[in-house]
Assembly symmetry: C2
Homo-oligomer: 368 residues x 2
């Protein structure tokens, strides 16, 4: 085997506790968060849904794009975008969250995209169920995994690869995985995977491969870099870890009042305020409770429903704000009894921090 001239890749700067390097800020400039003020909307407005792209966004012409079925299929085929868009279409609101969301709050912190709260959003995805299409290509007996390969190429620690992930045949059925070409009534935007991606409802976003070029049926488990080297829960360097799969229970609040432009702390006058936001959990599990902490007291919010089993749940709580300074927080619990922790759970790579959001609010006298 030839020596890989790209190893070991670029050196990663040291992480400083409580502060961030210019390289981390560069990632935050490039990747973008959902705007918290849109958390009163069921569907995240187009162009504000969070983005986390490992490599460069490829700009692909839909006219020249084909999806190839390859590997252990008995009847593999290629499909043009025209053929794909002619398949039976469904529109489904699905909440996606980046596995690294909340990383900036984990201590010690891993060097990567420094998400705080905003790496989550809900779109109406337009596509077709993937399982029947896979059946049509007749996977051979003993197929264990389907690999999904994107058109986005880059390097991680010197390893060049197309972004790829896999799912087992059972997961594809159970999670109702979609092959997707549209978003919020329009064709997919380039940065969201145009012209074709998958959506894996209820799992963290890394599974929903963008710019999909190829689906490969495998007799063994897929060993792609993004499947086995990253996206694992690890406690220490030697820990083989466990794969990251479904979303942890979590909630966010639309910050009330008006923002201070740079600190994003909130300012309002005493009186009635409706607090509202969203809560979600993994793979279709319903939210059973959302509580809001005002001062030291947790109060139960009203759950006002969700648009789909894979979409976040809306909640609200009416508060009569008295003058003072508050660190508001919200905390969700799911139907399996999982509840958000107050402190960030540690993970080596800063994955899946579902600890509670805090919003500092300054309430002024009503009549000054």
């Amino acid at each position: 085997m030839t020596r890989n001239p790209f190893l070991p890749g670029a050196p990663r700067p040291d992480v400083v506790e409580g502060l961030f390097s210019q390289e981390e800020v560069l990632l935050a400039n490039r990747n973008s968060g959902t705007l918290l003020e849109t958390l009163d909307q069921d569907i995240t407005p187009t162009g504000t849904h969070y983005l986390l792209n490992h490599f460069d966004v490829p700009l692909i012409s839909a006219d020249a794009h084909f999806l190839s079925f390859a590997g252990a299929f008995d009847a593999p085929f290629d499909l043009s975008m025209e053929q794909i868009r002619a398949l039976p279409a469904v529109t489904r609101p699905v909440t996606l969250e980046c596995a690294g969301n909340g990383r900036a709050g984990i201590s010690p912190r891993c060097f990567s995209m420094p998400w705080i709260y905003e790496g989550v959003g809900t779109s109406e995805w337009i596509g077709t169920p993937l399982a029947p299409l896979l059946e049509r290509a007749r996977p051979r007996r003993g197929v264990q995994d389907f690999a999904f390969i994107g058109a986005d190429y880059g390097f991680d620690r010197g390893h060049g690869h197309y972004f790829g992930r896999s799912l087992t045949p059972a997961q594809i059925v159970e999670l109702e995985v979609l092959l997707v070409w549209g978003m919020n009534g329009q064709p997919l935007l380039p940065q969201h995977g145009a012209p074709l991606r998958i959506i894996v409802p209820g799992w963290y976003g890394m599974a929903s491969v963008k710019w999909l070029t190829r689906i490969e049926a495998l007799h063994e488990r897929y060993q792609g870099f993004q499947q086995v080297q990253t996206y694992r829960y690890r406690r220490h360097t030697e820990d083989p870890g466990l794969p990251i799969t479904r979303l942890r229970v979590k909630s966010l609040m639309k910050p009330p009042g008006g923002p201070d432009w740079v600190t994003r702390q909130r300012w309002l006058r005493a009186g009635p305020v409706r607090l509202q936001g969203k809560a979600w959990a993994g793979a279709g599990i319903p939210i059973s409770k959302v509580e809001v902490r005002i001062g030291k007291v947790w109060r139960e919010a009203e759950l006002t429903g969700r648009r789909d089993r894979y979409a976040w749940t809306s909640w609200q709580l009416d508060w009569t704000a008295e003058p003072g300074v508050y660190d508001l927080a919200c905390r969700a619990q799911d139907a399996e009894g999982q509840i958000q922790p107050l402190e960030a759970p540690f993970d080596m790579a800063g994955f899946a921090n579902n600890s509670v959001q805090q919003v500092r609010v300054h309430v002024a006298e009503k009549d000054t």
Copy 2:
């Protein structure tokens, strides 16, 4: 006058040289940069154009939105969006850049959005020339300024205000200011000012007020917070400063090769590479030269034109890359002889850093 209960606003964290606070990262999560890999496109793809919003993005129904002409007009009127969209329409590609673009590279640094390179983009704006509309409202003799007030409200150092800016009658004509309702063939997206904004070609982005509700004719110069308290070039705390207006000459390169995912350094194999990017200057001034530094040598790039006098200019240079590590840079000069500096110019608030971009590129042997 009543005491302002919101003063002095939230305390701003100290700035640490070479590192960034969580509050700065929060701004970088929320505001978003144009993707550098799209710099081979004349028009920045929809939803990836940079965003810098001071306050919360208001979600406004176009059906209920009116633009009011107020103040020193003899024939003021209100216009519905339906009436506005019936006005003579033009489509115009205009390059916008955030006045704070490059702030992260200025030392010492001001606490605000830590832009590195990505606060710039070009869209095809759809709207109508503003000057004839203002004439229709018959500004009174002696009007000095027109104030443009948005629907976005928030606080800066404890001062609550709607975002507002002004332009003189002469500037509105000279800069061919547009009243805009569309972008890249579609209605404006909420985060870009839907349903109505202005575009001030050739000036930094703060002038292009979003979510426009009101145009006020004034017999004196407008004294709004965003006009007189911020967006001024200042050298020290006591410096009254000079207003920030037109774009400084600048250029950016599409980073060649493939990215290392976290450091964004670039990796490619030896051989021919086309380097390409964009260059722009203020208020319609053409670009006269772009040079690219490879190793220690500056080479002149070919200018391949621009779509409009207010849009950026494309450039390219073919390079036969030899193995090694390079810090590539590009530098533009405009028709007035202004040239980009190698070092960031100092400004108290980190405005208008037009120093050269650097891109680290690792070139491996061709055949390994």
